[in-house]
Symmetry: C2
Subunit: 240 residues, 2 copies
């Protein structure tokens, strides 16, 4: 019986993929995803039918997945990180007819991978916010950055900047500085969990001096976050 | 050379563990963790020295890890889910001397596993909040629930209730209802990613009628979250 898997393949390297994710890809006749993600997994599945799909064609990609499943094949739709966090799980479930079995397989999301590389900045309550205003009103995003800062949440920012979208991270930094100290430790992680991963420990006051792009996740600490031995740590509150 | 791994083993089943997590445990002389987590992995590593450590002894556990590493052994300290999310990564990095190499290995955290089971509720900006006031001031937690609700964040609640702590989830529900509709879809997931996983689709208005305990993660949608074919979906905003 045909089946759809929506698979979070983790940040990039096979090591951060789960056994269940790998097994789903192994069981699939077809693997489909955004080209960058197909490139990440193709060496492990050279014998599979792999379909690269362009960015901004997410709805078309899901319709293609449904067609493939309806033809009787098992198909995996992949997202990097966790498919349920700014990935393909939502739109796939919106589009798929109830008659086709669909399983969502969770993965290590980019902010978790970035946090592990930088130390342990996400150890306490945190807010995850995408700065992309392609599908979300910018005023709502700004409001969320403001409220999360007021609440002294650790803040994890996805999609902080792209070629055509450069001012959002500046506005976000300005909003956060209304409530958070400029000394707040910040992890800037590019290509988290991939071959060319790069981690920069900065502060909220200095983070805009560093290179930031679409492949970067930025984690801004709370009022208790500190640096030790080059690692960024948000304490849970244990006494020792 | 001795080394410390701090390993997120995922929610429970081996399938949701990453290859890197498994490899770290395989390479370790000793695996140490809270008893429930040791029980989850012991069948895969019957030949290893496994040390179960009681709850609320997190600092002692980390000191023991340092001692084992100083004796020349490679040791893995395990947390369920992701060690960097309310897990052991923070306190371990606070305590470990710089001379001992320490690697944090990220994992699939409980809310990601819970979300995948329930559908795709975390597809948009979300706030993760622990309702445990053991180490955090209850007024700050309430403030965070309030601000996250004002910001129309999806909210993921860890540690919603324990035997001795029963009123926090009631207070949290009341605060969320100031801003969120009682019809907001809610996923109540007990033992996410474990053998006896149970998912209940409820609403913010009815969620307190369901069983909630320490092993439960609760995900409360945003104003756009909806139910379809039994799945809870937060749309990213794609048009179709």
């Amino acid at each position: 019986m045909a089946k759809i898997y929506v698979v979070g393949i983790g940040p990039g390297k096979k090591g951060d993929m789960t056994f269940r994710a790998y097994d789903a890809l192994e069981k699939s006749d077809v693997i489909i995803g955004y080209k960058t993600y197909i490139d990440l997994i193709k060496e492990y599945f050279p014998e599979k039918e792999l379909i690269s799909s362009p960015m901004k064609k997410e709805v078309d990609r899901c319709r293609e997945v449904v067609e493939i499943a309806e033809s009787g094949k098992t198909v995996s739709l992949i997202s990097s990180g966790d498919a349920g966090i700014y990935g393909m799980a939502g739109i796939m479930l919106e589009i798929v007819p109830e008659s086709i079995e669909t399983e969502i397989i969770p993965g290590v999301t980019a902010s978790n991978a970035a946090a592990a590389t930088a130390g342990a900045p996400l150890m306490h309550d945190f807010a995850t916010i995408s700065l992309s205003d392609l599908l979300t009103d910018w005023d709502l995003i700004k409001k969320r950055v403001d409220l999360a800062s007021q609440g002294d949440f650790v803040i994890s920012l996805y999609n902080p900047k792209s070629k055509g979208r450069t001012t959002q991270i500046e506005d976000a930094a300005e909003i956060m500085l209304k409530y958070k100290s400029p000394e707040t430790p910040v992890a800037i992680v590019r290509n988290a969990g991939r071959e060319d991963e790069r981690v920069t420990a900065a502060t909220l006051g200095t983070m805009l001096e560093h290179e930031i792009d679409m492949l970067t996740v930025i984690i801004i600490g709370n009022s208790k976050t500190f640096m030790k031995n080059g690692k960024i740590i948000t304490p849970r509150g244990y006494k020792y």
